[in-house]
Structures are given as structure tokens and as C-alpha cells.
């Protein structure tokens, strides 16, 4: 299949699936959410607007982790570190080399993707817990490197004092983030409903089977990891311009916990899961601001409760998996029928 043809197929499939999904109840809620976000600067106070902005950026970071963990089954612990790499790369490109920030964001994303390669190329043949351990170690290396190489990163104090985007106009920045995040969500959506996404889920369910059906699973995982990490890098770049300081805690295990918590609380392996998770977690945290200071305590508790009692998360349902299973069962039934006939 030529690239143009597969691209055309992907687009038509995205179109049909998108028109179906947008008319469903979840789609309507999503559309309302977008409307709210579009009008937010007109009726929200500054504080609430910055919370909305934060939610948007986290949605990008968490949905890209969901792409890896939820669809491919690759539990990357490097995600927060690459998010940090994107942040540093974007800001350093813009501040030190005078590259326009919008272009620097692209570079940051690509660099985060490239940074994933040293670990994915050798380790994607490992499975399950082993991949989690390798990526955890890699994340720690990046974190320590950021602290150690002070010339580039300013060490533990972090990087600050760089010029904000759009001359500091927060409203323009807000709309820029909104449009960019929506566009990148659409890209992920297209990827997931296309053949690529089907193969991703096949890899998650049974990698050997997917491979036997003629798919280069290793390459798909490599590309998937690259895309997911690049998106994390872009999210990191946006976050850097949002809070206007980057420091090593941005790459810490703590940040990784936050992303994982949001994704799992929302529902792993569902497109809406990342969005619901971020809104739920950040929303709860902001609601409880002042009431309970231990935000991480709430997140840890939520994480445990969800994993124990709602295995598919708040937004998740077992449907997707069931459809796959149905098809698979139908397939085996037909297969055994032919076998019997042959006898």
C-alpha cells in the first residue's frame, strides 16, 4: 500500500469515525467542553483561566502517555523526563539561539522524540515490567543529567527569565495552546482509528499474534513511542512558556506519578480517559485548594481507589476490548468450523 493511499484511507476513516463519535453522548460533551474552552477568556477570572490552560497542557501530556501505555501496552516511565527534555529544548532554542518560539516548540517535540530512541531501540523487545524498569532507569539518568550539566541547564536552580510567548499576552497564548492541543488530539485520534491504532491494540492484546499476521510490531512500537514522546515534548515546551520557569522537578518521578494518576483515573486505553482524568484530578486538586494541603495524598488515594475498584477508570468502559474479543471469537469459531468440515 502506498503512503498516499494509506493516508487517504486514514483520512476517510477518521472522517467517518469522527462524525459517528461526535454525535454520540461523549462527542456532545466534548463539543460543549471545546465551546467552554473557546469562550473561557471572556467569562473566567484570571486564576480560573490559568487552571483551564494548565488542564489543556496536561491533556496533551497525558493523552500522549495514554497512546503508549493504553494502546500499545508500553508502560513508559520516561514520559515526564521527555516532557522535561521538550521544555528545556524549546526554551533553550528560543532563548539562546533566537529561534521563534513556535518553531522552537516543534524542535523541542522532535528532540524529545529523538531522546526516546536510545532507550527504545534496544529495549522495545523487552516486555511488561522489564520495559517499565528500563524506562524508569532512563528517566532517572535524564533527571540526573539535567542536574549535572549546569552549563546547558543551569542545574538545580533551573532556567528562568526567558521572554514569554507573544510578548506576554496571556489571552493569545491561551488560544494558541487551545488550537495546538486540539489539533494534536485530532492527530492522535486519526492515528488511533486508522490501521496504525488497530495494530497498536493488537500489540497490546497479543504481540506474537500481531506479528504472525505480518505486522512489523517492533517498528510500530518504535514509531508509536517516538510520536508519543514528541507530543510529550511539545506539552513540555508549552508548560515551560506557561509557568515561565523550568527546573529539574519537572522531570522527576513525581511528575510521572501525576501523569500516570491522571491517565489511570480517567481510564487507560480510551481516548476520553486522558481528558476526563486530567479534568477530574486537576479539578479536584483546585477545588480542595486551601481545604487540604496534601494534594499528592489525594492523588495517591484516587490512584489506589481507581485501580482497586474501577479497573477501567472513570471514563473507561470494557466496550472496546469486548468488540475486539468478539471479533476474535468469531474468527476462531469460523476457523474451527472449517477444520471440522475438512475432516
Amino acid at each position: 500500500m502506498s503512503l498516499a493511499e494509506s493516508l487517504r484511507l486514514t483520512l476517510s476513516r477518521t472522517q467517518t469515525r469522527l462524525s459517528e463519535d461526535l454525535l454520540g453522548p461523549k462527542g456532545v460533551i466534548f463539543a460543549l467542553g471545546v465551546l467552554f474552552a473557546l469562550g473561557a477568556p471572556f467569562f473566567l477570572r484570571q486564576f480560573h483561566l490559568s487552571v483551564t490552560l494548565q488542564i489543556l497542557i496536561f491533556i496533551l501530556a497525558v493523552s500522549s502517555w495514554n497512546l503508549l501505555a493504553g494502546y500499545f501496552g508500553m508502560f513508559s516511565f520516561t514520559h515526564a523526563a521527555l516532557y522535561g527534555v521538550g521544555a528545556y529544548a524549546t526554551v533553550i532554542c528560543a532563548a539562546e539561539f533566537g529561534i521563534p518560539p513556535v518553531l522552537a516548540l516543534v524542535i523541542g517535540g522532535l528532540l524529545a522524540g529523538l531522546f526516546s530512541l536510545p532507550i527504545t531501540i534496544p529495549s522495545l523487545r523487552l516486555s511488561g515490567s522489564y520495559l517499565a524498569m528500563v524506562t524508569l532507569a532512563f528517566a532517572e539518568i535524564i533527571h540526573l543529567a539535567v542536574i549535572t550539566f549546569r552549563d546547558v541547564t543551569n542545574g538545580p536552580t533551573g532556567y528562568t527569565g526567558f521572554a514569554p510567548m507573544f510578548g506576554g499576552d496571556r489571552i493569545v497564548f491561551y488560544y494558541f495552546v487551545l488550537v495546538l492541543v486540539l489539533a494534536l488530539l485530532l492527530v492522535q485520534y486519526a492515528l488511533l482509528v486508522s490501521r496504525f491504532g488497530l495494530i497498536a491494540r493488537a500489540i497490546r492484546e497479543a504481540e506474537d499474534a500481531a506479528q504472525m499476521l505480518g505486522n512489523d510490531t517492533y517498528r510500530h512500537k518504535l514509531v508509536g513511542f517516538f510520536i508519543g514522546s514528541s507530543l510529550a515534548g511539545v506539552a513540555g515546551g508549552l508548560q515551560a512558556y506557561n509557568i515561565l520557569i523550568i527546573s529539574p522537578p519537572m522531570l522527576e518521578l513525581n511528575q510521572m506519578i501525576q501523569f500516570m494518576a491522571m491517565s489511570i483515573i480517567g481510564g487507560l486505553g480510551t481516548f476520553s480517559g486522558a481528558i476526563v482524568g486530567v479534568i477530574a484530578v486537576v479539578g479536584v486538586a483546585e477545588l480542595l485548594r486551601g481545604v487540604i494541603e496534601q494534594r499528592l495524598l489525594i492523588w495517591g488515594l484516587l490512584l489506589m481507589l481507581v485501580i482497586l475498584f474501577f479497573p477501567s477508570g472513570l471514563a473507561g468502559s470494557a466496550t472496546q476490548r469486548d468488540i475486539l474479543k468478539q471479533q476474535f471469537d468469531g474468527f476462531t469459531d469460523r476457523f474451527s468450523d472449517t477444520e471440522e468440515r475438512d475432516k
Binding site: 501505555a69 501496552g73 508502560f75 532507550i119 534496544p122 529495549s123 523487552l126 511488561g128 515490567s129 522489564y130 517499565a132 524498569m133 528500563v134 524508569l136 532507569a137 532512563f138 532517572e140 539518568i141 540526573l144 543529567a145 542536574i147 549535572t148 518521578l253 506519578i257 500516570m260 494518576a261 489511570i264 494541603e293 496534601q294 499528592l296 495524598l297 492523588w299 495517591g300 488515594l301 490512584l303 489506589m304 485501580i307 482497586l308 479497573p311
Partner: protein, 292 residues
Amino acid sequence: MVDLLLVIQQIFNGILFGGQLALVAVGLTLIWGVTRILNFAHGAMFMMGGYAGFLTFELTGNALLALPGAVLVVFVLGMVTEFGVVRRLRDRDNAEFAAIIGTFGLAVVLENVVRASALGSTRRTLPTIVPGVWEVGPFFFVAEQVYLFIVALAALGVLFAVIKYTRLGMAMRAVAQDQNTAKLMGVRSDRIYAITFGISAALAGLAGALLAPIFNIYPSVGWQPFLLAFIVVIIGGLGSVRGTLIAALLIGVLRSVSLTFTSSQQTSMLLFLAMIVILIVKPTGIGGVIDG
């Protein structure tokens, strides 16, 4: 040749440090070996042991009682963890991840519960039981470090004996090899899992209380030893208790010696790199070489 003396001194220090490291790491590898679960709350058990020891000392005024107090409390905590969290996740399709997330969540909860409690984030410490420094020739030994090393070795010796010679140890090895067959042979695997978790946690708790006089105790104290133990466990070979012991001593020495030449961050980076290489090239680690 002053450098050589320094290096030898650091090798001794490294061995002493390795003994303490082994105490934390063995628990981690034991859980993996028997239950195939990565316990991300292991560092939190270390921290809870430190606090249990501290509270025991506050209540009784006796620093010697701190150790058994810590062991007991954290043993129970480990059993409760298995019963309340891990057991519910074990039969899932994605049990590995579910358990990682569940124990991770528990670690975050424990850390922040302590932080929110009356204990707060204040650094606590236990008094030294064996003060003083011994001079042997040109070398110095902090008496406390030596005592810690001896207690750690004794605890590990008891653990080895239990695994090797008792019925409980035999049941643990049976469950580790094949859960279903062990069950058919009348081993109550659920109980074995809980006890294994308890023992593993108790070892971490003991380490926490032992190291309290040196490192202080604070809510997030467990992550550093957890990550180090993690490296040790991987290099030693997941699930191999003997491999872990050797790896702990090796890494203890490596770390001490390299600390004289480079910063602790660079040392840790090298260790993590070694961990990645081992995972990719020989996932069975040292244990795969000596056991197999």
C-alpha cells in the same frame, strides 16, 4: 600512594554500605521471586520502619527496642498491603501493571499521610547505640557502620536459613517455581504470599530503623534507597537472593570508590546505565550466572 590507601578505605566503606543495601534489596527481590510483583511501596516500607523505630524509642526511651518495634510494625504493614492491595490485583489480565500502580499509589499515600500527621516533614533521628571510631592500622571504621553491617548480615543469615531449611521456606520456593502445582500439593499460596510480603517489608523496615541514626528519617526518605535497591536487584538478577547479595556488595564498593573521583549524580547515572545494559543484555543478572 596516599590514593591507594584512600581507595582501600573506600572499599571497606563500600562493603559496609553494601550490607545495608542488601537488606533493602533482598526484600524487593524476594517479593518478585515469589509473587512476580514489583513492589513500588518498598521504599515506603523503609520509611515506615524508620518512623516505627523512632516512635518506639520515643515511647520506651530504649534505642535497642526500636529495631524489633520497627520489624514488627512493618511486618504487619506488609501483610496488610498484600491482603488489601496486591491480592485484589493479582488475578487481573494486566496484573503486573496494576500491581505497580497499586503499590506506587500506596507509597504516595503512606508518604503523604506521614507528612500530614503530627510527625510532619521534620527530620527525625535515633541515637547511636555504638558510638566511636575504631582505628585499625591506617584505616578507620565507624563503629556504628560495623554494627549495622553485622545486624544486616545476621538478618540476612536468618532469612537464608528460613528459605533453605524450614517448611515455610520450602513452601515459598514451591510457590515461586509453580503456583498451581504448589497449590495442588496443599500449599496455601495466598498465605505464603502474605507472609513473603510481610518478611520483605520487615527487612526494609529493619533497614529503615537501622539507618535512622545516619540518614535521619523524613517522609520521602524511602525513594533513594528504593531506587538504589532497584539497581541492585536488577544487576543481581530479579528473584535471585544470592545474586542480589553479591550485587549489593559490588555496588556498595563501586559507589564508594567512584564517589572519591566523581559526583554522586554521575555515579548514580553510571549505575542506572549499568542497570539498563544488564536488563537488555542479560536480564537474569548475576543470579543467572551463579544459580544456573
